[in-house]
């Protein structure tokens, strides 16, 4: 008996018990759909975190001062003054995997224009900063090398600062002089908005000025708060981290056994730490969904058992008219397989559909992986074979004489 005939027979048998077949499939449908939806939601949230983190800057590596110890006493991190412009210069010199790098000094203060005033943060940086942090200028211009050299009192303002200070009067801010902590500064440009970061931080509440200006005129310091670096590519970031570590240990004269007095944070590390939670969640959701898939498989086994018992006479008849044990085994196995595969296909459709609905109505980030869809289909096919085998075996082993007489 060929396989096409067997599939025909199995389809007939399933069609004869439409409602029962559908209800049996429902277990698999729900199982597969929930596996796909759960993985899509888990993967989606992971993707969105990754996107937001990399939106903070491309292959960004941040160097900040670490805990300093003097005579065994930890001085804490806040007041550390260990990073200098010379460190940055050395880093640039000692690594050839760096694309951009910029010093960073920060100062909090009050921004004042006319009758408006609002607290904000000024960042003292160089020209590379825009590239590293993925900022773009919406109007006006960035400051120039020359303005860095001359510690010019110019600044570029973020969208939030613009809204707070110029929003109501709606004047063109370019060329206007604002005051930051009573230091008058000329606005030369406005940044395109970046919105909130994943962690709720307003990335547009910012003023950007030459680091020399911020160092000398606003903070009156000579050290740096941070050095931000951008590697040539994602692959190079590990190399850059290593280069920075070696350079700084040298320039800071740290002996072999002492710990670093600086800390290097790469974006990769950041992504890892933020996605680890969503990874755990994804696995958890997938496990729960797989359990429902398993329950669906048990449902198939149950129905196949009932079916074999109920159709004992049919099996006897099939054997009497020439069905071999193998034919009967295959018939019931194919029935179980069809149940699980059709259920699997419907489940995939339902899973993708419901994922799309979640995305549309709840705005959740989703990402449907082809691998996840294929895998859940393969698993549910395997479930069909696994749970269909035993009842099919039982059917094939029936004695035709007894089966024909079965009441």
């Amino acid at each position: 008996m060929n396989i096409v005939n067997l599939i025909g027979i199995a389809l007939q048998a399933l069609y004869r018990n439409k409602i029962r077949s559908f209800l049996t499939m429902l277990g698999i449908i729900i199982g597969v759909a929930s596996v796909i939806a759960m993985l899509a939601i888990g993967e989606g949230s992971k993707k969105s975190i990754q996107e937001q983190v990399s939106g903070m800057g491309t292959n960004m590596i941040t160097v900040i001062p670490g805990a300093q110890r003097r005579h065994g006493v930890s001085m804490g991190r806040e007041g550390a003054q260990s990073l200098t412009f010379n460190d940055m210069y050395e880093i640039e010199k000692n690594s050839n995997s760096i694309m951009y790098l910029s010093p960073e000094v920060r100062g909090n203060g009050q921004v004042i224009f006319g009758t408006e005033n609002e607290p904000s943060t000024i960042y003292g940086v160089n020209l590379d900063y825009l590239e590293i942090k993925k900022f773009t200028i919406s109007s006006g211009r960035m400051f120039s090398e020359r303005e860095i050299l001359t510690s010019a009192k110019v600044c570029v303002i973020g969208k939030t600062v613009y809204d707070n200070i110029f929003g109501e009067t709606n004047v063109d801010p370019i060329g206007k002089t604002i005051r930051f902590n009573n230091i008058p500064m000329t606005v030369i440009g406005v940044l395109n908005p970046k919105g909130l970061s994943t962690f709720g931080h307003d990335q547009d509440d910012i003023l950007i000025a030459p680091y020399t200006t911020v160092q000398k005129r606003i903070l009156a310091i000579t050290h740096l708060h941070a050095i931000v670096v951008s590697a040539i590519s994602e692959k190079h970031s590990a190399q850059v981290v290593e280069d920075i570590e070696n350079t700084l240990r040298m320039t800071h004269r740290i002996s072999k056994n002492d710990e670093d007095d600086f800390r290097i944070r790469s974006q990769e590390e950041l992504i890892k730490s933020f996605t680890s939670i969503s990874d755990v969640l994804t696995v958890l959701l997938a496990v729960i969904a797989s359990i429902s898939l398993l329950v669906g498989g048990i449902g198939i086994m149950n129905i196949m058992y009932v079916s074999v018992t109920e159709r004992t006479r049919e099996i006897g008849l099939r054997m009497a008219i020439g069905g071999k044990g193998r034919d009967i085994l295959l018939q019931f196995l194919i029935e179980a397989l069809l149940l699980s595969m059709i259920g699997g296909l419907l489940g995939i459709a339902l899973g993708i559909g419901s994922t799309k609905l979640v995305h549309i109505f709840m705005q959740w980030p989703v990402y449907i992986q082809t691998e996840a869809v294929l895998l859940s289909f393969i698993i549910c096919t395997a479930i069909g074979i696994f749970f269909g085998w035993y009842p099919a075996q039982k059917a094939a082993k029936l004695d035709p004489i007894d089966a024909l007489r079965y009441e």
Binding site: R313, M319, A320, K324, R326, P400
Partner: protein, 247 residues
């Protein structure tokens, strides 16, 4: 005349715990082509066991069984299944039709197990079989839309569809009223007239009267094997019967 079935010194024993049941104790008989044999006997006489062996559903303990020139001894279960599919037709007391399945699909069933038959040929042969039993106008009816007699006709059509060398009927009229029984016997007589070899197990004497030869079993042996005298013609008897008085 060619012998379709040749049986000699057939024994069958069943072991039930410590007890050995001798169902057949040395049966020998030949059935030739075109014969119409009834097998009778009380319950426990061995007639059912005989039919199971004739139908290749069971294997004898000893003795030889040659069907259509093929030795049935020492065959595997798969070979027996193939032989059932190609050499035999079965008709059962309780019809054994698949529920919720149309008459034509039921008749096609044996051909599904023969991979040499194409889908088109399958349908044609099933239609032809249903025409032979007079149900050409009922092919798309399911068993629950058919009367008992019609269901048995479908079963007979199913037994004919593979063009078997012998049709084995097991109490084929047991579930039917007298009139319908006669109709079925008339059909069997017609098929026999067309050259079909039929072995008919029954316990009703009047049904056996329609056959050509009567074999009576008793305690696992053939007690009587005689030609039927004053054989009845079912079609004629049916015509003589009073018209159905719609009770």
């Amino acid at each position: 005349m060619k012998h379709i079935i040749q049986i000699s010194d057939l024994h069958k024993e069943f072991h039930m715990g410590d007890i050995t049941v001798h169902a057949l104790r040395g049966v020998s008989m030949n059935i030739s082509e075109g014969d119409f044999v009834s097998i009778m006997g009380t319950s426990g006489s061995g007639k059912s066991t005989m039919l199971n062996i004739l139908g290749c559903l069971d294997k004898p303990t000893s003795g030889s069984y040659i069907l259509n020139g093929l030795n049935m001894n020492e065959r595997t279960n798969n070979e027996l299944a193939e032989l059932r599919n190609q050499q035999l037709g079965f008709v059962f007391q309780s019809y054994n039709l698949l529920p919720r399945t149309t008459a034509i699909e039921n008749v096609e069933l044996p051909l599904y197990y023969n991979s040499q038959v194409s889908a088109k040929e399958r349908r044609e042969r099933a239609l032809y079989s249903l025409e032979m039993v007079g149900l050409a106008d009922r092919i798309h009816h399911t068993p629950n839309q058919l009367s008992g007699g019609q269901q048995q006709r479908v079963a007979i059509a199913r037994s004919l569809v593979n063009n078997p060398v012998v049709i084995l009927a097991d109490e084929a009229t047991g579930n039917l009223d007298t009139r319908t029984s006669y109709e079925i016997m008339a059909l069997f007589q017609k098929l026999n007239d067309d050259g079909k070899t039929i072995v008919f197990v029954t316990h009703e004497q009047d049904i056996a009267q329609f056959t050509k030869r009567s074999i009576v079993f008793r305690d696992g042996r053939i007690e009587k094997d005689i030609p039927v005298e004053k054989r009845d013609n079912a079609a004629k008897k049916l015509a003589e019967m009073p018209k159905e008085d719609n009770y």
